[in-house]
């Protein structure tokens, strides 16, 4: 046994490295119970509650995808509505070809990955701040191209075929479960992705790109993976929006408003934490429902809160909670404790 072996073994024995704190085991149980409760909800409450929750789930999923992109990949995009739109139109087109619309939702995610590959070639040529506006232009190009396709309804949009035969109550419940699955898949997907090798390289890139690159991390590859995953998630969310609203309108689905929602939810909730979008979505949704009678003032308030959060509270609400309590529902780092040194 060499000296370095001996030393590293002693060092390993001296510290205790583990992923989860005790609190995250407790909170994991609570989360699991919450998911079971949510899954059973269509049997318990009226459909207007589940219909509202579908919108909420879509927002959580979208915000989670933007958080993955910006908070972990460092890619601030204002153009994710491109993939929401492509996902929505994929479901419309696949349903026209006879695919069951609910099954078309995961296929829409795949379509978005196919579109995201060439898009990333172009968008990744713009660095930093210019990436934001560049992705926005690309989203506009997709909108302008889609409205030129007559088979997709042109500028006036198109209705979804293939769901008219279903009983409205069953349709509502199925849509709800699909939306819930989407949210669980995006949150769980982010968690698994970030725990693994990709997550480690991403966080290294985010914190110090040059050093990460010098340490042998393929920076562009890590960013591209995140971009593709985010495109897939936004595409599936676009698909859920379509099966929920039963039609699509190009100006609404490709609207930059989606980016505004995602960005404000994440910034208020806490950028760079998986928990951030969850909390942010609750705040956003509450504001939206409370101020529903006051036109677009909720967006004004949201903008002001967003500016304030970006300016004075860079960790968002979850950053506050974590600083106070050390709580982490989705630990992606490690806890290191020094044991008794022999």
């Amino acid at each position: 046994m060499t000296l370095s072996h001996l030393l590293s073994e002693r060092a390993a024995a001296a510290v205790d490295v583990r992923r989860a704190a005790r609190t995250s085991k407790v909170s994991g149980g609570v989360l699991l119970a919450l998911v079971v409760l949510l899954a059973a909800l269509p049997y318990v409450v009226f459909s207007d509650v589940t219909d509202t929750l579908v919108n909420f789930f879509v927002l959580v999923a979208l915000a989670g995808m933007w958080n993955l992109l910006a908070g972990f990949g460092g890619l601030v995009s204002v153009g994710q509505q491109a993939f929401i739109g492509i996902g929505a139109y994929s479901v419309i087109a696949l349903a026209d070809l006879g695919v069951q619309p609910y099954l078309a939702v995961p296929l829409a995610a795949l379509t978005c990955v196919v579109f995201a590959v060439p898009t990333s070639w172009l968008a990744f040529r713009l660095r930093g701040d210019y990436f934001a506006v560049g992705t926005w232009v690309i989203a506009e190009v997709y909108r302008l191209l889609v409205v030129r396709i007559d088979a997709l309804g042109g500028a006036s949009g198109k209705g979804l075929s293939g769901l008219s035969g279903l009983d409205p109550a069953l349709r509502g419940a199925l849509t709800y479960w699909v939306a819930l699955t989407l949210t669980l898949a995006t949150v769980g997907g982010c968690y698994l992705l970030l725990r693994g090798r990709v997550g480690l390289s991403l966080m290294a890139v985010r914190d110090e790109e040059t050093a990460a690159s010098a340490a042998g991390i393929d920076v562009t590859r890590a960013k591209r993976i995140v971009y593709l995953v985010s495109a897939a998630g936004c595409g599936a969310a676009g698909g859920v929006i379509t099966v929920s609203s039963l039609s699509v309108n190009p100006d609404a689905i490709f609207n930059v408003q989606w980016s505004a929602y995602m960005i404000f939810i994440v910034v208020i909730g806490g950028i760079g934490f998986i928990e951030g979008p969850l909390i942010g979505a609750v705040v956003f949704f509450a504001l939206q429902q409370l101020l529903a009678d006051f036109g677009s003032w909720y967006l004004v308030i949201l903008g002001v809160v967003g500016i304030a959060a970006a300016r004075w509270l860079p960790g968002g609400l979850w950053g506050l909670v974590r600083d106070r309590t050390g709580l982490s529902l989705f630990p992606v780092g490690y806890h290191v404790r020094t044991g008794d040194v022999r």
């Binding site: 677009s296 967006l299 967003g306 500016i307």
Partner: protein, 287 residues
């Protein structure tokens, strides 16, 4: 002959795009800030002029003389109060702050002025034109083009000939070294933002006279400015002029082929530049 006409109209429109894009280019060149509220500021200037003309009956040129310095002041204050602090928190913070500003401005305008489409009436001047051989040239596009050219030349002279302009360029090249030799970066940044806001207001007023606008017009205007800057080359004043003209001509020729192609043609040229010449047509010096 209609193609030459389209070319001339596009050229004149391009001058306005360039004037509008200058502020975006200047703020990025000096502070590395991409102002996502850029387009909305122009729309705010348009609505302000609309309210002033409608409310006081003042002639348009007086409104312009009032609005532009007002925006310069607003720009200085915005930089010192809102942007300066977020600069230290990294590029993402400034991006989020300006995006928040954009959403706030849009929705405040929406609540005050409703979503109706408006135009700023400037009397017979807006529609009068003269013939140059077979080509019809409107007085308004020509005057806006000349004014844009004059303002750009003025900013160019300011940057290259005056002490403050030199400090601006120095800060844009290397902030730390510039402040070592006595440039107060906060004041310099405030001046850059003031110039940016003043040109945005001027461009916004010209847009308002030329074409209709509503509270949601800002983002598409921002995209034009952004495309002009990237096509021309980041951080180059004359590149921005060239980029604006390329964009204007492309849009004009695109609309000649098919009116629905106007915007798409501009976007496609932008993407082509991005794919094949990402440094822009006139790549080069900063500011």
């Amino acid at each position: 002959m209609q193609w030459i006409n389209a070319l001339v109209q596009g050229l004149l429109l391009g001058g306005l795009y360039a004037l509008f894009a200058t502020g975006l280019s200047l703020m990025f060149g000096v502070m590395r800030i991409v102002n996502l509220a850029h387009g909305d500021l122009a729309v705010v200037a348009s609505f302000l002029a609309l309210a002033l003309v409608g409310g006081t009956g003042l002639p348009l040129w007086v409104v312009i003389v009032v609005t532009v310095p007002l925006f310069a002041l607003l720009g200085y204050l915005t930089q010192r109060v809102l942007l300066q602090g977020s600069l230290s928190s990294g590029p993402m913070a400034t991006l989020l702050v300006t995006f928040g500003l954009s959403i706030v401005l849009q929705n405040v305008l929406l609540e005050i002025f409703s979503a109706d489409t408006r135009t700023l009436d400037s009397g017979s001047f807006a529609t009068s034109s003269f013939h140059l051989g077979p080509i019809t040239v409107g007085w308004l596009p020509l005057v806006t083009f000349l004014l844009a050219g004059a303002v750009l030349a003025g900013i160019g002279v300011f940057l290259s000939r005056t002490g403050l302009g030199r400090m601006l360029r120095a800060s844009s090249d290397d902030r730390e070294t510039a402040s070592l030799v006595g440039a107060d970066s906060r004041h310099v940044y405030g001046v850059a933002t003031a110039i940016a806001f003043a040109t945005v207001a001027l461009a916004g007023l010209m847009f308002a006279v030329r074409s209709s606008f509503d509270p949601a017009t800002g983002p598409s205007r921002l995209i034009f400015a952004f495309e002009a800057v990237v096509i021309g080359g980041l951080g180059s004043l004359w590149g921005t002029l060239l980029g604006g003209i390329v964009l204007g001509v492309t849009q004009s020729i695109g609309s000649q082929i098919d009116p629905a192609m106007t915007l798409l043609a501009g976007h496609l040229v932008f993407l082509a530049v991005l794919a094949f010449r990402p440094q822009g047509l006139l790549a080069g010096r900063t500011a």
